[in-house]
C-alpha cells in the first residue's frame, strides 16, 4: 500500500511543482495575454463543465477515436499483408515511405475538397496521419516472426486464421503497439488541426474562437484541457498495453537477468 502511495506521489510531484511555479509566477499578472493561473482555472470551470462538454469535447473525442481505430484496423490489416510477402514489400515500400513523408496537415485543404468540412474530413485526416507509424511497425513486426516458431506452427498444423491470431499478430504485437503509441499523439495533433481549419464545433474550433474573440483565459483553459485529454488517453493506452504485452515485458526482464 505504501509502495503504491509512494509511486503516486512520485508521479505527481513534478506536475504539482510546475503548477505551483505557474501559479506563483503569474499570481499578480496584469498581462492580458498571460493571465494568472487562478483566472485560467476559474474560466476552466465555467467553460468546460457545462454544455461545451457535449458540444465540443465529445465530438472531438469521438472523431479522434473513430479515426484512430479505423487507422489501427487499416494499418494492421495492410501491414500483415505487406509484411507476409517479400515481393509485396519490395513493391510497396518505396511508395509507403513517400506517402509517410507527406505531413498530414497539408492534406487538410485537399481532403476538404472532396470530403467537405464535416466529420468525414476530420476523420480522414486523422486516419491518414495515424496509419503510417502503425503500418510500418506492423510490417517490421510481421517480417520478424521467428522462423522456428513458424516451423513449429506448421508442423502442428496451425495455419490460416489460427496462425494469424496465435502467431503472427501476437508476435508482432510489441511493434504494433509501438506504432499505435506514436499514432495516438499524432491523432490528437491532427484532431486539433483539422478542427482549426474548418469546423463548427470541437476543441480546436473552440480554442481558435476564444483566441479570435480575445477570451484569453478561456483559450488557455482549452489548451490545458487538451493536455489533460492527451494525458488521460495515454494513461488508458498504457493500461491496455501493459495487459496485452505483459508476456513481452516479462520475457525481456527474464532475458536481461
Amino acid at each position: 500500500m505504501t509502495a503504491i502511495a509512494r509511486k503516486v506521489a512520485a508521479a505527481l510531484a513534478l506536475p504539482v511543482v510546475l503548477f505551483a511555479v505557474w501559479w506563483l509566477a503569474t499570481g499578480s499578472s496584469e498581462n492580458f495575454y498571460f493571465p494568472s493561473l487562478r483566472v485560467i482555472l476559474s474560466s476552466f470551470g465555467e467553460v468546460w463543465t457545462g454544455d461545451r462538454l457535449v458540444t465540443d469535447v465529445l465530438p472531438s473525442v469521438l472523431r479522434l477515436l473513430c479515426g484512430y481505430l479505423a487507422a489501427v484496423v487499416i494499418a494492421v490489416t495492410a501491414g500483415v499483408v505487406i509484411g507476409s510477402s517479400p515481393r509485396i514489400r519490395a513493391f510497396a515500400e518505396p511508395a509507403l515511405e513517400f506517402l509517410r513523408a507527406i505531413p498530414p496537415p497539408v492534406l487538410v485543404p485537399i481532403i476538404m475538397l472532396f470530403a467537405g468540412i464535416g466529420d468525414v474530413m476530420k476523420i480522414v485526416v486523422i486516419v491518414f496521419g495515424c496509419v503510417w507509424p502503425i503500418l510500418l511497425n506492423t510490417v517490421e513486426g510481421v517480417r520478424a516472426v521467428d522462423g522456428v516458431l513458424l516451423d513449429t506452427a506448421r508442423s502442428y498444423g496451425i495455419g490460416g486464421v489460427a496462425r494469424l491470431r496465435h502467431l503472427v499478430l501476437r508476435s508482432a504485437s510489441p511493434q504494433i503497439f509501438a506504432g499505435m503509441r506514436q499514432a495516438l499523439s499524432l491523432g490528437i495533433i491532427l484532431m486539433v488541426i483539422s478542427e482549426m481549419f474548418a469546423a463548427s464545433n470541437g476543441l480546436g474550433f473552440a480554442i481558435v474562437q476564444f483566441q479570435r474573440s480575445f477570451a484569453i483565459p478561456s483559450m488557455w483553459s482549452g489548451i490545458l484541457l487538451l493536455g489533460i485529454l492527451g494525458f488521460l488517453l495515454s494513461l488508458v493506452f498504457r493500461l491496455v498495453e501493459s495487459r496485452a504485452l505483459s508476456w513481452y515485458h516479462g520475457l525481456r526482464r527474464s532475458q536481461r537477468s
Partner: protein, 267 residues
C-alpha cells in the same frame, strides 16, 4: 512406418549450388527408436526438415505409412533444438501444449486430459500456468516434449533437442525420452551430434557421412533394453559401440570411404 528413399536436397543460393544431402535411404519400423549421428554440418537439420514436410526435397521421397509426405503430416510432431524459440512466449505452458490440440479439433474435456497427462509425464504438472520464459532451459524443453506427446503422434522427430542444455539436465532428458518411448510405443527419429547420446538412446544408430550426405553405416545397438546412465555408460559393449561410431565419424570427416561402401562411389 517411415521410409526415406533416395532423398536429395540441393540449395540454390544464386550462382552457388550447395548439395546438402546427396542420397539418403533408410527405414524406421513402427515403434522403433533410431538415432541419426553425423559430423557437424552434414545436413542433419535439412534431413529432418525434409522428413517433417517443412522442406521439399530436390528428389527422392519420404513415406509415412506408405503415403508420401508433401507437407507436415498430421501424425508427426517435431521437437526442435531451439526450445526458447519454439514455445510461444505469449502463451502459458498449458496453452502451449493445448494449442495444437485445439487446432486438431479435439473436444475440450479430452484436451484437458491430454494436457494434464503430458505435463505430468514430463514432471511439470505444477508449471501449467507459468510462462515458458519463467522456466529453465531444461524445463522449457520438457514443455516442448510434453506438447509433442500430447499431440499423440505416430512419429516423433527430435532435432538435437538437448544440444543447448547442461550435461546433467541432458542425462535426465535422455532418460525421459526412453521412458516416454517405452510408455507410448511411439516411433522416434532422434537427430544428434553427440555420439554417446546416440548409442545410449537408440535401438539403431544411423551414421551419416559428411556433406554431401549419404548413410555411411547402420548400426544395431545390442545393449539391454533397460538402460540407465550409470551402468549402461559403463558397459563394455557401450564403450565398444561408441568407439566404433566415433571412428566412423572421424573417418567421415576425413572423407574416407565407409567399410561397407554403401551408397558411396557411385559417381
Amino acid at each position: 512406418m517411415l521410409d526415406v528413399r533416395g532423398l536429395k536436397k540441393v540449395y540454390n543460393g544464386g550462382a552457388r549450388q550447395v548439395e546438402a544431402i546427396r542420397d539418403l535411404t533408410f527405414t524406421l519400423s513402427a515403434g522403433e527408436l533410431v538415432c541419426l549421428v553425423g559430423p557437424s554440418g552434414c545436413g542433419k537439420t535439412t534431413l529432418l526438415k525434409c522428413v517433417a514436410g517443412l522442406l521439399t526435397p530436390t528428389s527422392g521421397e519420404v513415406l509415412l505409412q506408405g503415403r508420401p509426405v508433401t507437407g507436415p503430416p498430421p501424425g508427426m510432431a517435431v521437437v526442435f533444438q531451439e526450445y526458447g524459440r519454439s514455445l510461444f512466449p505469449w502463451l502459458r505452458v498449458g496453452e502451449n501444449v493445448d494449442l495444437p490440440l485445439r487446432q486438431k479439433g479435439l473436444p475440450k474435456a479430452r484436451r484437458r486430459e491430454l494436457v494434464t497427462e503430458a505435463l505430468a509425464a514430463v514432471g511439470l504438472a505444477d508449471a501449467e500456468s507459468a510462462y515458458p520464459w519463467q522456466l529453465s532451459g531444461g524445463m522449457q524443453q520438457r514443455v516442448a516434449i510434453a506438447r509433442a506427446v500430447a499431440f499423440e503422434p505416430e512419429v516423433l522427430l527430435m532435432d538435437e533437442p538437448f544440444a543447448a542444455v547442461d550435461a546433467q539436465t541432458r542425462a535426465d532428458l535422455e532418460d525421459l525420452v526412453r521412458a516416454l518411448w517405452h510408455k507410448l510405443g511411439v516411433t522416434i527419429l532422434f537427430v544428434t551430434h553427440d555420439i554417446d547420446e546416440a548409442v545410449y538412446l537408440g535401438q539403431r544408430v544411423l551414421i551419416l557421412s559428411s556433406s554431401p550426405t549419404v548413410v555411411r553405416e547402420e548400426l544395431t545397438v545390442d545393449l539391454p533394453d533397460t538402460r540407465d546412465q550409470l551402468h549402461t555408460r559403463g558397459h563394455p559393449r557401450f564403450t565398444a559401440l561408441r568407439t566404433h561410431v566415433q571412428e566412423q565419424i572421424q573417418a567421415a570427416k576425413r572423407g574416407l570411404p565407409s567399410p561397407s561402401a554403401a551408397g558411396d562411389g557411385e559417381e
